[in-house]
Amino acid sequence: MSINWYKYASPASFYFLAGKMIPYFSIVAVILLLVGLYIGFFVAPTDFQQGEAYRIIFIHVPAAWMSMFLYLVMAFWSGIGLAFNTRLSSMVATAIAPTGAMFTFIALWTGAWWGKPMWGAWWVWDARLTSELILLFLYIGFMSLQAAIDDPRRADRAGAIIALVGVVNIPIIYFSVQWWNTLHQGASVSVTQSPKMAASMLAGMLIMAFAAWMYSIAMILMRTRAIILERERHTAWVAELKGVTGVTR
C-alpha cells in the first residue's frame, strides 16, 4: 500500500480539507486562550520579585516562541516547495509570513512594555529583544521580496532562497548579538530571570503557547485558502465552485 503523498498536495483538494479544519482549530484556540488567561490572571500567584507586572509573560513568551517557530516552519515549507516543486508548499510558506511577523511585533511590543517597569527603559538592547528585532527584519525582507515579484513561481522560489539563507543565519545572528550584548554592558537582567516558576505560571504560559499555535494554524489555513483562490482563479475547479453557487459570468 503506497501512500499517495500528493493527494492533498493539489490545491483543489487542500482547499476543501482546510475549509473543514479551520473551525476546529479556531474553537480550540479560543478555549485554550480563555483557560490560559484565567490561569494567568486568577490562579497564578503574584511574583515576589516583579509584583504583577510579570503577567505580561503570558503573552510575551508565547509570541516570541511562535515568531521563531513560524519562521522555521516557513523556511521548511518554502524549502519543500523549492525542492519538490509543489506549489501548495510555497503557498503555505507565503501564508505563514504575515502571522509570524505579527507575533514578532507582539513579542517586541510586550517585551518593551515589560522592560519599562522592570528595567526603567522602553527599549533595552537585550540580546533576545535585539535578535527578535532582526527576526522582524528577516520576515519583512521575505514578504517584500515576494511582493516585488509578479510571477508567482519566481516569487515562491526566490522567497524560498531568502528564507533558507535566513534560517541558516538565525543562530549566527543570535550568538553574535548575545556576544555583542554581554561584551558591551554586561548581561542585563534577562526577561525571564525569575527564579523557578511556580507551576501555575508555567501552566498558564504553556496553555497560552498552545492557544497561539492553534490560532496560527487557523490563520495560516485561512490565508492559504485565500492565496489558492487568488492563484487558481482561472482553473476549472474554481469555475466549478462558481457553478455550485449558480452565478455564471
Partner: protein
Amino acid sequence: MSWNSWAEFFSMGGYGLYVWGSYLVSFACIAGEIWLILNRRRTLQKYLGLKDESTTREEK
C-alpha cells in the same frame, strides 16, 4: 489569587498601564489580522462570484 475588587484587578499592583497596554495592543493586532483575512476572503468571494463558504464539495 483572588482580587478583592475590580479596581484592584485593573490597577494590577500599580503596573496596570503596562500589563493592559501590552495585552490591549496584542489583541488589537490579532483582531486586526483576523479582520484583514476575512476582508480578503470577502473581496475574493465577491470578485470570483462565490456565494457562500463553499467548504463542502457536493459530490455530484
